[in-house]
């Protein structure tokens, strides 16, 4: 079970700035452990952001994104009280969805 995300969404001038902190190991698949064996890749593949249920952004992520990634973006026309939902899926099939209300 993945740990929860931290989502902050604030309206400013007709738009909303969304800041997301995700809890994920983001193993690149390039590192070796103490026994010299490759640590298998384990990272987020896809991030989806929706605004009141409508998808506003999808992103394909790879091994180059750092551990516990931070993502910030602006949603045009989003108002206070609207719902922002973030979903990620990783290459092990795990996924996590969290929701926040724009303040």
């Amino acid at each position: 079970m993945a740990d929860p995300m931290r989502i902050r969404a604030q309206s400013s001038g007709g738009n909303a700035v969304v800041r997301v902190l995700m809890s994920h190991e983001m193993e690149s698949g390039q590192r070796r452990d103490s026994a010299g064996k490759l640590v298998p890749a384990w990272h987020i593949m896809e991030v989806t952001a929706s605004h009141n249920g409508k998808t506003v952004m999808t992103a394909e992520w790879g091994a180059a994104v750092a551990k516990n990634p931070f993502l910030q973006f602006t949603v045009k026309g989003a108002k206070a009280g609207d719902k922002i939902t973030i979903n990620w899926k990783d290459n092990k099939g795990d996924s996590r969805t969290d929701e926040a209300t724009i303040s």
């Binding site: 740990d3 929860p4 931290r6 800041r19 902190l21 809890s23 551990k67 516990n68 931070f70």
Partner: protein, 268 residues
């Protein structure tokens, strides 16, 4: 050939001079800017959320929550306890810091094996959970001022012991904590080191841990901070939640009286 190098050197010097004129920024200012950029979106928030969840979750062999844990202000009180730890606890008859107290609660309330948990490596299994709990408890005192008690005789003893440990020189490098933290203006590579024999200021030294370290993506409590200081001094590792580490922490905490806690902080 000789002339050419000379010209090259002159050009280099000119270039350096102009670069210096354009950027009066020192290396440590650059690091401060980098830290400020990281401040937004401190992954310590993730550990904080995890810790809060763990506090209320029924866990361990006794399947109990930690909500009855007494951190110094009575069972279940978590606001403002961090800035008064380490302190003397009459039930265990020991001076304890936040992490050793959580260890006590996890063993008495939840039934975890205290000795086994203390032996677990940092960042593994239940140690990871303990750090998350400490992160959350510390965050509940963010912005408050350190005010450690020195009223109990044991607390005075721990202060004196901590002070001696701070100045004790040993190991292959004949090092002590004071070698780096005993005067102003010392640094390790580009990291400015606080002077810990006095109050180093708000959010510096004792007032900044637990902290998330960006370089290795780990959340560190004060115990791990001290453990790593000893590693850098080439000392043997002190035991987790040992009296020595608590005494050292208490010494730093008492010295930090009046400093504002910014924990959980973010570190390079």
């Amino acid at each position: 050939m000789y002339k050419k190098t000379l010209w090259g050197a002159a050009a280099c010097a000119l270039l350096l001079a102009s670069a210096a004129a354009q950027q009066p920024k020192t290396a440590s200012q650059g690091i401060d800017e980098y830290r400020a950029m990281l401040q937004d979106g401190n992954p310590a928030d993730l550990f904080e959320a995890k810790g809060e969840g763990l506090w209320k979750q029924k866990r361990g062999p006794k399947n109990a929550t930690l909500e009855q844990c007494d951190l110094g202000k009575g069972p279940g009180v978590f606001k403002g306890v961090f800035v008064e730890l380490p302190r003397y606890f009459p039930d265990t008859k020991r001076v304890q810091d936040l992490e050793s107290r959580l260890l006590t609660c996890m063993s008495t309330l939840q039934g975890f094996d205290e000795a086994e948990l203390a032996k677990t490596a940092f960042g593994r299994g239940e140690q990871n959970n303990l750090t998350a709990l400490a992160t959350w408890i510390a965050a509940e005192s963010k912005g408050m001022k350190f005010n450690l008690s020195q009223s109990h005789a044991q607390e005075k003893v721990f202060y004196e012991v901590g002070k001696r440990l701070f100045f004790q020189r040993a190991g292959s490098h004949d090092f002590s904590c004071a070698s780096c933290h005993g005067e102003e203006g010392k640094r390790i590579r580009l990291q400015d080191l606080p002077r810990l024999t006095q109050n180093p200021g708000d959010g510096v030294g004792f007032a900044a841990w637990p902290a998330y370290r960006v370089s290795n993506g780990q959340m560190w409590g004060m115990q791990q901070r001290l453990n790593d200081c000893y590693r850098q001094q080439r000392f043997p590792y002190p035991g987790f939640a040992s009296d020595a580490t608590i005494a050292l922490g208490l010494y730093l905490g008492v010295n930090s009286k009046g400093a504002v806690s910014i924990a959980p902080a973010i570190k390079r």
